[in-house]
Amino acid sequence: MSKLGDLGARLHRGEVGYDFVGNRKIWYGVSILITITAIVGLAVRGLSMGIEFQGGAVFTTEKTSVSVSQAETYAEKASGHDAIVQKLGNDTLRIQISGVDTAKSDEIQQQLAKDLKVDADTINADLVGPSWGEQVANKAWQGLAIFLVLVVIYLAIAFELRMAIAAFVALIHDITITIGIYALVGFEVTPGTVIGLLTILGYSLYDTVVVFDSLKEQTKDITKQTRWTYAEIANRSINSTLVRSINTTVVALLPVAGLLFIGGGVLGAGMLNDISLSLFVGLAAGAYSSIFIATPLVADLKEREPQLKALKKRVLAKRAQSEHESEPAADGPYDDEPADATPAVVGPRAQSGARSRGRGGKRR
């Protein structure tokens, strides 16, 4: 761990670091590419909507020795429709029949029970009318839209409008990527998927908020110094919170991985699996976008502000003048870093005399 701790420290001090903002064009490119792929996948392959969205019946049996093909024959005979039968991890069968209404599916259930020689009560049935899935999905989209509006307003108040816009773009990006992956891989979209997708909303913003918070702090008195440009400080914010972002993402993914493992491995297909799958994809996308997209985007947007434009000019001019004094960004101790502590001290320099009292950092 000491290595990691040390890396954390060096990241914190800005001794090491990756130039996220400087290389943003590359990452924008990557993201645009992924997004386009996702959209193309969506347009060409479309989403494979689960039975819940088309209307139909899903029956789950108890443990049974009946073979898949046998069950398929039974189901098709009983319903007169095509049936998809899967064997789940625990020797139960999952029989999906689309295009039957709820009344008809009762008969099918009874017939299946006879064919499979089990008690009708032991067959679990999930019967869905064709418009129910649509209603669920519509409400979900509605919720999504309302949430986006509110969150942009809130972030604009908590941080500022440009950050809110960047967060919004990152969020849309996450959702697009997640949906795109579903289209490309052909995962089935169920209400569980929708739930997972909606959860990403709050969650994908978590890391973004952590970085933005640090950024807000570090750029408090940015115009009062002429050492760094906004983009450079933004980059340092990403680097100094990198450990945090990685940790929060890993910790968020662990329980989801547990769900995915149990849901997929033990129960076979089902709600747990659907939720955790979309969460997993979405969380990964969210972690990526908070680092590579959201913050560089803020830097881009901010550098268009006249005062920051002017600052950039000043900084560059100063560096050109006094070459021996300047150091490349993101490397070197930050002398003139903007005061970023809680009650801001006006002025670029904080008094260096007041170094921590006590014997902080004393090596034993």
Partner: protein, 595 residues
């Protein structure tokens, strides 16, 4: 809340013991409440406990664009509730969800098929003449005054006094104890109320004297002829025990043209009836409303308007009934084969407008009015989804969810231990406190607001483990940053807090916002998930503020942590802290440092 006060909030920082005591007391109190209430486990939803869940969606009928509104939905819920619980189904739940859905949850062990048939169908309301009745015993002591029916020509409720019951028309024999509150239906064509005949009432007598209208229509014969069918019916009637739910469900069935036996409730006890063929169909009631009669102090009454066909039929039937003696002067209002009211008639109601008055409470009057208005369900419903889960599968899913949760929790703990060493103790303790609070609240919310734990809610709780742990990470990383700056632990803990606090609040607010929006907007399974997520997010804030931070403050005073033992996770050396060289230090808030 986005930008909390800068600086120190005295209570949390200087008195860590107090905050810890507070949260522990809260936990103990809640746990005590949980045991006291007897609900020590969260209520389980259908998908975990087994049973059937039916989602019905109201269908917009052409020509009635505004039919789907709260009033109608509530009425539908009430009618369905009557039906499902009339089946003897225990603990069936009927509730609205969103603007247009009704969810019916039927626990395992009940006849879900039957219940399904019942809930979605349209209710049937008929007026049938009463041929014989035996009023249940065990009723309340106070005979309630009988509702009376009188036509009102105007919209204004007409005064009618019915509390003085005509002793002569009282069913004297056979049911002395019976408070048979039979509404008298008196009629006047002028919309005057007709008072009870025996009462010297100062009502201006219009035409309201009860007179048998010899309407030539086929009135139901109210005299059972002694043929076989009748004898069979009599036998059936004698055998019928309305206190038995099974028999109740069987009673009242029969064609509209048949004479049937039926059950009905009078003040909480069951009565049984023999009813003649249907006289008026409930669909012929135009509307009915509950009104408060302020003029004569008769209290709440129900005013019915019939359509023209219904008005004619009703005039006939009441004309017939008015000539009879009790109980054959009563007509029964039969909803779903059950007698909901049986007012007696004193005169034909000819105006197509009748009122039933008596000592109704407001609720009773409104219920009756609803039933009369919507003999049928006020809306048409279609089955959107039906989920049947066997208890075995439900148990399996619950188990899988719990195992997944345990695995998730264990993985997170392992990661925290590896990365944070000693600090992870604090994080793990906080996680456990969160878990305990979540569990207790879920158990308490079952009886309190009808919260039921379903599979998505379990998922929400598992996902929340990560969200909760994230808050600790944000804080710990801040503390470590402060140590890297060269601070000793105690000031580092205090200085890191305000900033970490802001980050945590903003992030959690965003999470909570998404949960709240989803909870309000969405339907079905998404809602259960959103609820858990919102609950755990709130708890996260509480735990971090009242537990994690004070605990860290306390532990910072110990030798192990305070001196940065290499296993404490706060070892300056390991964190790569350096003695400051020429770096400026961040400006410090002027807080008095503890020595």
């Amino acid at each position: 809340m986005a930008a909390p006060k800068k600086g120190r909030s005295a209570s949390a920082q200087s008195k860590p013991g107090r905050a810890l005591a507070l949260i522990l007391i809260a936990l103990v109190a809640l746990t005590g409440g949980m045991f006291a209430s007897g609900h020590t486990t969260p209520r389980l939803g259908i998908d975990l406990a087994g049973g059937t869940s039916i989602t019905l969606t109201a269908v917009n009928e052409p020509g009635q664009p505004n039919a789907i509104n709260k009033t109608n939905m509530d009425t539908a819920v009430e009618i369905m509730n009557r039906r499902v619980n009339g089946l003897g189904v225990s603990e069936a739940e009927v509730q609205t969800q969103g603007n247009e859905n009704i969810i019916v949850n039927i626990p395992k062990g009940t006849d879900s098929e039957e219940a399904r048939d019942q809930v979605g169908t349209t209710a049937k309301l008929y007026f049938r003449p009463v041929l014989a009745s035996q009023v249940g015993t065990g009723a309340t002591e106070n005979p309630t005054a009988s509702p009376s029916t009188s036509p009102s020509g105007s919209g204004s409720p007409s005064p009618s006094k019915s509390d003085g019951k005509d002793a002569a028309t009282e069913p004297g024999a056979g049911d002395s104890a019976s408070p048979s509150s039979s509404p008298s239906s008196s009629a006047t064509s002028q919309g005057r109320a007709l008072t009870d005949a025996l009462k010297a009432d100062p009502t201006p007598s219009g035409s309201g004297s009860p007179s048998a209208k010899a309407s030539g229509s086929a009135a139901p014969t109210a005299t059972p002829s002694a043929d076989e069918a009748t004898q069979a019916l009599q036998a059936k009637f004698a055998a019928l025990d309305c206190n038995d739910p099974k028999q109740r469900a069987e009673a009242g069935k029969g064609k509209n043209t048949d004479t049937v036996v039926a059950c009905g409730q009078d003040n909480g006890s069951w009565s049984k009836f023999i009813l003649g063929p249907v006289g008026v169909d409930g669909t012929e009631v135009d509307k009915a409303q509950a009104l408060l009669d302020t003029q004569n102090g008769t209290g709440w009454q129900v005013v019915m308007d019939f359509d023209s066909k219904g008005a004619d039929k009703f005039a006939d039937i009441t004309g017939q009934l008015a000539t009879q003696t009790s109980p054959q002067n009563e007509f029964a209002i039969v909803l779903d084969d059950e007698v909901v009211s049986h007012p007696y008639v004193q005169a034909a109601v000819t105006g197509g407008k009748a009122e039933i008055s008596g000592s109704f409470t407001q609720e009773e009057a409104q219920n009756l009015a609803n039933m009369l208005s919507y003999g049928a369900l006020p809306l048409t419903f279609k089955e959107s989804s039906v989920t049947t889960v066997s208890p075995a599968l439900g148990g399996e899913q619950l188990q899988a969810g719990l195992i997944a949760g345990a695995i998730g929790l264990a993985l997170v703990m392992i990661y925290l231990v590896v990365y944070y060493r000693g600090l992870s103790l604090i994080a793990i303790a906080s996680l456990l406190i969160s878990a305990a609070l979540t569990y207790v609240l879920m158990a308490l919310l079952g009886p309190a607001i009808g919260f039921a734990l379903n599979l998505p809610a379990v998922c929400g709780a598992i996902v929340a483990i990560g969200i909760t742990a994230d808050s600790f990470i944000v804080y710990f990383e801040r503390v470590r940053d402060e140590i890297r700056e060269g601070r000793t632990l105690r000031p580092a803990v205090e200085r890191a807090w305000p900033r970490a606090r802001r980050t945590i609040l903003v992030s959690d607010f965003v999470s909570f916002l998404s949960a709240a929006v989803l909870f309000i907007v969405t339907v079905g399974k998404v809602q259960g998930f959103a609820f858990t997520l919102g609950l755990t997010t709130l708890l996260d804030v509480v735990v971090v503020f009242l537990f994690t931070k004070p605990l860290l403050t306390l532990l910072a005073r110990t030798k192990f942590f305070g001196n940065g033992h290499s296993w404490s996770g706060l070892d300056p050396k390991r964190l790569g802290a350096r003695p400051p060289l020429r770096r400026t230090r961040r400006s410090v808030p002027a807080d008095p440092k503890e020595a």
